[in-house]
Structure formats: structure tokens, C-alpha cells
């Protein structure tokens, strides 16, 4: 076995040193009654070439944007990943290391996370950011719990235009914590209904949670929402499912958000059938001690040199146990590194340019589709790189037709919103050429071939 170095002779010598006669004897503390009395019933081992062949055959059975032009978004985005990202995270000092508990031999990871925290703060306009969480949805759930802790209130308003899987995740996390989740409807703009919001918000409300942009791609009016929420002492949580938008849109911090929780997959991380992704999380200085997750801080070593350490661990489970701000332990360190490298490469002008490209291409598609006979754009609000299309007929049938023409045209909304069975969500990124967009429009216009 190429991963296990023991030769028969090694094993014999080691057993002698240990002072046992056999490998079995090592397990003598395990009662016979709970021992497995048969071999594990698993497939025969594969050699490296057989394994690769098998995995390639599985991989080849999945559609990808290379095999089929794709307009799928909905929380997982097809953005270009510069080759440097993968080559740098493939350095084994990064990817085969553990959490940086020993700062003297973990300065690489620690400094990179410190840079990551800084980038997240800059992008979101917030004061502090943690070292990462699992994904956008679970980060959003942690944000809700944090708002509950910070306000000592138990009522949370959630926009129905927030990503449905984020809403479900928040519900799961809150399930047994006596937190009341109150849905806030959206209006004709596709954004959260401000009048409903005003009537639902009260002095018992811990937080309002909205997507920015929301699940329909619509840019919510965070400033107005912040004003209403703050007026009643509630926190505003902005959940960012497509953070490329932050290269162009006003930052949630600037608009008054108190907590920003989002999905960082767009920053150099492959869509990879849903994970691993990157939950990012940022808050205001005043709420620092109630924040969940790891934090890296700057300090000095015994020689007076700048260095970085995990800090404020007294919020965390390994110190505070049941009183911790979260149970999170390992997070998504390598994905945070990918985002850090991606954002370092894109830099100030790149993040803007890629955002403008996404927005412009989506607008191009939106206008063209909206002008088609039989299709319309039901929401009036400004969108970023996704928008909802109303088909007039069952969306699933439209998408299947596109599929037969070799295009993944979007995500049917009926599964998430039963009343939207005729609608689908189209996402356009910088990876979709005008030619692809034109082909999509033509396929929609053309009907069944």
C-alpha cells in the first residue's frame, strides 16, 4: 500500500517494542461483542490508474460550462479563475497544514487570513471580519444568531427574496432556540416590500435579513431598510450571495448594514457541485465580542517583529464550550486563501471591471429577452448579474427545450416558489460571450426546433 510505509519487518519490530504478540492484541480493550467479525464489504481496491479512469468516467457524466453554455447562478457562479490561484493553493505548506494553532510555524496561513479579513472589510465596508465560515447560507444563519445575542431579542424578519436555501438554513439553525422567524414579502420591484417591512418591524425585532443582491438578482434598498431597522433597535443583516456585485454596488457597510454574511465562491473558487465554498462574515466593531468564528490579529513576537496569531479565542468553543458564540471549529481556510489570492490579482480595478462586465452582459441579455414575444421581466428593480424571466408557460418546459439545444438556460423557480412555476432565473457572468447570450435569446425566440 503506497500510503502506508510499514513493511512486515517493521511491524514485527514495532510489536516487540510495544510488547504485544500481534496486531490483534493492540485492540484488546475493545470488547469482542462490539468487534466487527467480518471484512468490510467495500469494492476491491483500485490502483492509481484505475482510480483515475473511474473518476474521469464519473466526471464526464456531469455537464459543465465547457460542454454546455450555462446561465445557471442562484448562489453558485461561473467566474474565471486565474491559473495562479490553483498553483499557489497547491503549495503543500498551505493545503496540508492544520489550523494555525502554533503561530511560529503558521505565519503563512495567519498572515494570509489577516489579509483576507482586511479584504472582506474593505469590500463590505465593515469594521471586522472573521477568518471564514462554511458557506453563505450557514454564515447567514450565524449572523442571525449573533444578532439575537447582541440584541437579546428573539424575533427575526427574513426577506422572502433572500436565497431560499439561506432561509431554510437559518430556519434549521434557529429551530430549537426559540427564535421567531417572520417572513417579509417582496413587492413588484422584486425587492423586499418596504411597507410590509415597516408594519412587521417592532421593538422585539432582533434583525432584518435581506439579500444584497437578493435571490432574484435585485439590488435591495439597504439604506432605507437600515433606517427602519435601526429606528427600532434592530440589526440589519445583509446576505451577499454574489460578492462580485460589491465591486460595483455601494457597500453594505456604507448603507448601514450591521452584519454582512455572504458567499465567497465567486472569488476564485470552482462551482464544484456546491462546495467547498466560503462563508464570509463581517460586522461592526461594537459587536466584536459576540462574533462567531476564528479571528486573526496582529501582534509582536519576543524579538519585536510583527506577527499574527489566532486571537479573541475566549468567544470560541474550545475555551468557552457551551457558552461559545458558535460551535464552529475548522472553517474554510483554503477557500479563504483562494479568495485572498483572487482578490489580490484582481485588485482595485479588476474587481470593478469584472463587476461592470457581469452587470453589462446581464443587462444586455435582460433587455433582449424582455423584448421577446412571450417573455417578460416581471420585476422592476435594478438587478446585478441575474434576473427573473416570466415565460407565460411552464418554465421547466422552456428550460428543457433550451437544454435540447445545448444550453443550460437558467433555474426554474417553481421548486422554490410554487406561484412562480412559469418563471426562471437567468445568470450572466463575464464568462458568457455575447455569442452565447445571442444564442440563448435566439433559442428562446425560436421555440422548439
Amino acid at each position: 500500500m503506497r500510503y502506508i510505509p510499514h513493511t512486515q519487518e517493521d511491524i514485527q519490530q514495532m510489536l516487540e517494542t510495544v510488547g504485544v504478540g500481534s496486531l490483534e492484541e493492540l485492540f484488546e480493550e475493545i470488547p469482542k461483542s462490539v468487534r466487527l467479525q467480518r471484512p468490510l464489504d467495500l469494492s476491491a481496491p483500485l490502483s492509481e490508474p484505475e482510480l483515475l479512469r473511474h473518476l474521469r468516467s464519473l466526471a464526464d457524466r456531469n455537464a459543465t460550462p465547457d460542454s454546455m453554455p450555462s446561465f445557471l447562478g442562484g448562489g453558485a457562479y461561473n467566474h474565471f479563475i486565474p491559473a495562479a490561484v490553483d498553483q499557489l493553493i497547491s503549495r503543500s505548506e498551505f493545503y496540508t497544514a492544520y489550523t494555525p494553532y502554533q503561530p511560529e510555524i503558521s505565519q503563512g496561513t495567519l498572515q494570509a487570513i489577516f489579509e483576507y479579513q482586511t479584504l472582506v472589510c474593505q469590500l463590505t465596508g465593515m469594521d471586522v471580519a472573521n477568518a471564514s465560515m462554511y458557506d453563505g447560507a450557514s454564515a447567514c444563519a450565524e449572523a442571525v444568531l449573533m444578532a439575537v445575542r447582541a440584541t437579546r431579542r428573539k424575533r427575526v424578519l427574513i426577506s422572502e427574496a433572500l436565497h431560499p436555501e439561506y432561509r431554510e438554513t437559518v430556519a434549521t439553525y434557529c429551530r430549537y432556540l426559540d427564535v421567531e422567524l417572520v417572513p417579509v414579502p417582496f413587492d413588484a420591484s422584486g425587492g423586499t416590500d418596504m411597507s410590509a417591512l415597516s408594519s412587521l418591524l417592532d421593538k422585539e425585532t432582533a434583525a432584518l435579513v435581506v439579500g444584497y443582491p437578493n435571490f432574484f438578482g435585485v439590488v435591495e434598498d439597504l439604506a432605507a431598510q437600515a433606517e427602519v431597522a435601526h429606528g427600532l433597535g434592530a440589526r440589519l443583516v445583509a446576505a451577499v450571495q454574489e460578492p462580485i456585485a460589491l465591486g460595483l454596488l455601494k457597500s453594505p457597510g456604507e448603507l448601514g448594514a450591521d452584519i454582512v454574511a455572504g458567499e465567497g465562491q465567486s472569488f476564485g473558487i470552482p462551482v464544484a457541485f456546491g462546495g467547498p465554498y466560503l462563508g464570509f462574515f463581517a460586522a461592526r466593531q461594537k459587536d466584536l465580542r459576540t462574533m462567531p468564528g476564528r479571528l486573526v490579529g496582529e501582534t509582536l513576537d519576543t524579538r519585536g517583529q510583527r506577527g499574527f496569531v489566532l486571537t479573541l479565542a475566549t468567544r470560541e468553543q474550545h475555551i468557552r464550550r457551551e457558552k461559545a458564540t458558535s460551535n464552529i471549529c475548522s472553517n474554510e481556510g483554503l477557500c479563504a486563501l483562494m479568495a485572498t489570492i483572487y482578490l489580490s490579482l484582481m485588485g482595485k480595478s479588476g474587481i470593478r471591471e469584472v463587476a461592470v462586465q457581469n452587470f453589462s452582459k446581464a443587462e444586455y441579455a435582460k433587455r433582449a429577452i424582455g423584448a421577446l414575444q412571450g417573455f417578460s421581466i416581471p420585476f422592476a428593480g435594478a438587478t446585478f448579474n441575474e434576473f427573473v424571466v416570466e415565460a407565460g408557460v411552464e418554465a421547466g418546459a422552456v428550460l428543457e427545450r433550451l437544454e435540447r439545444q445545448g444550453i443550460l438556460g437558467g433555474i426554474a423557480l417553481g421548486g422554490y416558489f410554487p406561484e412562480m412555476s412559469n418563471r426562471f432565473l437567468v445568470c450572466v457572468t463575464e464568462q458568457n460571450s455575447r455569442q452565447e447570450i445571442d444564442a440563448l435569446v435566439a433559442a428562446l425566440a425560436g421555440g422548439e426546433k
Binding site: 500510503y3 502506508i4 510505509p5 510499514h6 517493521d10 511491524i11 514495532m14 485492540f27 481496491p45 482510480l51 483515475l52 464519473l58 466526471a59 456531469n62 459543465t64 454546455m68 450555462s70 453558485a76 486565474p82 495562479a84 498551505f94 493545503y95 496540508t96 497544514a97 502554533q102 511560529e104 510555524i105 489579509e115 482586511t118 474593505q122 462554511y134 430556519a171 429551530r175 432556540l177 465591486g247 458567499e263 470552482p270 457541485f273 456546491g274 467547498p276 466584536l288 468557552r320 457551551e322 457558552k323 461559545a324 460551535n327 464552529i328 474554510e332 481556510g333 483554503l334 482578490l343 490579482l345 485588485g347 469584472v354 453589462s360 452582459k361 443587462e363 437544454e403 443550460l408 433555474i411
Partner: protein, 474 residues
Amino acid sequence: LNEKLIFEHSDPGRKGYSLPALDVPEAQLPTALVREEVAGFPELSEVDVVRHFTRLSTWNYGVDSGFYPLGSCTMKYNPKVNEAAARLAGFAGAHPLAPEHLSQGALELMFSLQQELAEVSGFPAVTLQPAAGAHGELTGMLIIRAWHEAQGNPRRKVLIPDTAHGTNPATAALCGYEVVSIPSDGVLSAERVAELMDENVAGLMVTNPNTLGLFESQIKEICEVVHAKGGLVYCDGANLNALMGIARPGDMGIDVMHFNLHKTFSTPHGGGGPGAGPVGVTAALEPFLPVPVVVREAGQYRLDSQRPQSIGRMRAFHGNFGILVRAYAYIRTLGGAGLKHASQMAVLNANYIRARLEGTYHLPYKQRSLHEVVFSERNLPNDCHTLDVAKRLIDYGYHPPTVYFPLVVKGAIMIEPTETESQEVLDEFCEAMLAIAAEARDNPELLHQAPVRTRVGRMDETAAARNPRLKWEG
């Protein structure tokens, strides 16, 4: 050599990216929605960025750098072919919301992995959704709570031994439970559990083998005690690497367990994730698994979300798929006999280290060790402590063991070698440990000043916490 922060390398106008020219008209958002440029964002060329992160990497230590005996973390070798596998275009480029019939390869892999984890653990049903061990714990404890709710009474308390990881109590709290800590004497006795177990207790969380590296030999009786009072038993699967092919938690009476794919199944730790924390449950608990679950019907795979008793969703989409690919590749490479051999060698390695160091370092618990061994600082002279030994090991070229955990051992030194280390590596490590013990006696300053060979020395962690500087401010 020093390396500045990425922001300190920045120069206005420098670029490290390229994009195709925009091939549609540039559109305009209402100005009110548009931000200024992202203040403070770096501006660098590609070579700047590559050098920066290359240099940072050289300040790190990974499994490929050398022996990494971090107890409870199972820092085994991360096979290289698995890295290549996860990067296959058909995996890395598959969208989670693509139609199921265009995702059959990914779904088949997930279904197969569910089956394989079920066979290794003895649990009939497995979810792959949780992103990490603690996420799996939360999933598992929510399932326990949901089951109790379905029985009509959620109960109030959860029993947790004092040797447990901190995530256990934190998780119980997230499910709305009070935590009752059970003092243990190395291993848990069924008697002790029986004393604490009543109809207010939802269940018990154990780790087996526990964090002292000891098998909970009364586990079957303990489970019976808990079940007798209507409770359920959760097992923290962090230490499954001791048991593969030897004993199965599902056969011990345990009801729920999470796996750490980044420990037992060799996926890389990534400097703190991503991992994956699948959860296995008994048939009775299967209806409570999070949605979606991958099922096979008529040779086709699909995602089943129509599960009314489900606790719901733990995150968006289906799990840390890229990690699942690596774990699946590992299991397919070793097969059943290979997994058992891995566990045997992991246990042999831990016992070998124990045998070589036991005369010098104090061993607080004398039961047979499984995959890891825990020493205490008791024998260290001259004001030398566990921390000093750990830092001195760095100077010898090793990553330190886990220290000061479990909490029940004063100055714990928790060593987990894993099966991928050879006798030679263990011998060299043990010689370093023995040399350090001698230094503690003869030249304790070497320990107190360590490490000296690293770019930075010991850090002022107090100052870091007192006056937190959590981002670069220019």
C-alpha cells in the same frame, strides 16, 4: 526573510488580471447604487502576487513538510492523485443546480460514498451535507432533538464527558440543551452514566476512542443505559481512524455519529478547512436527515428533498463536494482490507511512540492506547512545561503535538502519529522527544527560548487579545 502585507506591496495602476474586452454595450446602474472604488484594495502585478503567497507559504508547515503528530487531528498523508481527481473539469465545473440527469456522475459518487461510509460505520443512513466536524455534530444533535420532539418531549439536558472536544458542549447548546459534564476516569463507566441519566436527559455525547486515545470499553452498556431511559447516544467520530474494519459505532448501540473526512479519510486540512462532516444515523433517525438526500431509483440518481420530518437544510446545496471526491478516491484506493490495515498501523504507531517515551514522559492513563497517546508535563523539571516542549520540537523540525487538551490532563501532550508515518520517522521523533527531556534537565533555557529557528519567535498573545488589530489599516 520578511514579507510585507499584500497591501504594502501595492502601487496605484498596477494590474494582476486580464479580462476579455467587454463585447456588449457597457450598461449604467443608477448612480445612487454605485460605490466608489474599493478603498485600500491592493494593486499588484501577477508576479508580485505569486511571490507574496509563495513566500508566505514558506513560513508554514504541512504534512508534506514533515511529521505532524497533532493529536485528535489525524494528520495523515494527503494522497496526490486525490488532488488531481477533485480538479477534474467534470467535477470542478459541475453546477449544483444543474438538472439531475446532467449531474449523474456527481450524484453517483455521492451515493456510493454514502454507502461506503455506512458500511464502515455500521449506520444504515448517511448524509454528506455537513461542511465540517462541528457542522456534523450540530446536524446530529439537531436530529436527536427532532426525534425527541417527534416523541413529544424534547427533554432538557445532554451528558458530555469531561474529555470531550469543546465543540460537543457548544453544539448541545445550539440545540437548546443544557450541558451536564460527566467526570471520567480515563474511560466512562456505565454506572456513572446511569447515575446521571434520567427522563430529562436527551442523550449522551461520547467520543470513541476518546480524546485520551482510550476505547470506551463499556460503550455497549452505556448505550443500553441511555436507551433504557429513552435517550440517544451521539458519537463524535473524530477518532474513527482507530476503528476502521475493527469495530463499528453503529454496532455498539450508538445512534448518530459524524465522520471527519479530513481526518479519517485523508482529505487535506487546508490550514483550517475545508473539511467535511457527514453524519450516519440509525434507521429510526433516517427520516430526520437534512435535505436533500441522494437516492437511487431505477438506476438513476436524484436529490430527494421531500422529507417531511427532516431537520431541514444545514447549508446551501449538497455538501463540500470537492472534499467528498477526495474521500471517495481514498476509500476506493484502500478498499476494506486497506482501511483496516490503516487503522491497525495507526494504532501500532501510537503504541510504539508510547512504548518509547513512557519511561521518560509521564503517562497519566495506563489503559491500552489506540490511535493516540496522551502524556502529561508531570515529569518535566526546571520550570519546563508542555508549551516549552512543544516549541522546542519546532526547532527539531517537527510540528508540535496537541497541547493542553484534553483538559483532564494537566499539561497534556497529545500525540497522534497516524498510519502514514514510518518506523524511521517515529524513531527520529522519539529521539527528539528524549533529547528535549534531557535538555529540560540540563539546559532548560533551550526550551524556554524555543523556537529559535523560525522566522518569528513566541508571540505576545495577550497584547493581541487586549488590543485587537484585526485588519490592516494602512
